[in-house]
Subunit: 226 residues, 2 copies
Amino acid sequence: MSGAAPKAVVLTSGGLDSTTTLALARAQGYDCYALSFDYGQRHRVELQAAAQVAAALGALEHRFIRIDLGGIGGSALTDPSIAVPEQPSVGIPITYVPARNTIFLSLALGWAEVLGAQDIFIGVNAVDYSGYPDCRPAFITAFEQLADLATKAGVEGRHFHIHTPLIQLSKADIIREGVRLGVDYSRTVSCYQADEAGRACGRCDSCRLRRAGFEAAGIEDPTRYA
Amino acid sequence: MSGAAPKAVVLTSGGLDSTTTLALARAQGYDCYALSFDYGQRHRVELQAAAQVAAALGALEHRFIRIDLGGIGGSALTDPSIAVPEQPSVGIPITYVPARNTIFLSLALGWAEVLGAQDIFIGVNAVDYSGYPDCRPAFITAFEQLADLATKAGVEGRHFHIHTPLIQLSKADIIREGVRLGVDYSRTVSCYQADEAGRACGRCDSCRLRRAGFEAAGIEDPTRYA
């Protein structure tokens, strides 16, 4: 908790992946600054989950930024008139939020610059994932290159590093890693259409991936289903 | 005004540069979708100016997105406790907003994707400017590369183009170009600390650059000074 540790901004959604990422960043010795977005998502109960896990995992500070991505639309997660699919889809699904991780990383970059941090953690995964383009290694590499050019800190020689500790892990491996670090997954909410009490539907893409991950890991699923 | 023209998202702040950019995009035959940000800036009167110029220059639609960059801080433009400098400064000035153009372009990219547009216009300038890193050609090139990797549209083969028609123009040339296209610069607000009626201070960096531009262009300055 001292000022001697390096600072990191950790994108924290309240879901399984970002919570594990926060636990990993802490285990690596970073002073963590959690950042969450209220972007008009359906599953807003995840914001309460984010607050709980950030506190439980020792984030030094936790900020919420509001951005009205519903004003842009184009996704089942931000447009109430588009239903969340409950069957696997072909290609990139309608739950894709246009440019979401670019937007989130940009805001994380801005806060990192103000904090004097050069490390940003994001829990993207390119194995057991929904096929979103902005979860792939090539995207992350391109953002890292952009970050140094985009900022005063970068011009002055600070090199930003986007950490993606989960990017090549299976969901089962992510869960094993989190359990090893003491993460309480019952606090996390992954479901795209969780109810107000944070109970999961068990049918959307995100629920299916999560449930299969616990099964593959041989760990009892603590998710609260509706 | 028909659907046959290509669509472009144009970042529109209500200032001199972005207004000229919007006029240029229209002159190039694009159907323009203006995008403005309410980001907690001091000079909020620029948002009214943005609405006026977007309407006057025939934007088909104009959206405002709220993002609380004040929550990040670190700039005289978003933190009321930091004064706007009224003397030229050395290096990148305190009016620099961390990662601002990365954040704005990310949101423009999201809207472009939803609209089916592949063209984004931004009025950055690397000649008569304040030294902001995210106004330089290298930054724009890096963002363009990122955009194709970041989006579903990019994965599916759409190539995004970030247009920066002003990037190598002097302020005087920008003004001459706008006047040629019929821009009414009395509607635009560049001042970092304009009063509620939109009158400029005449002393901040932005005012100095603007006033010098009209002088160099030999065009009478229509700016309303307080």
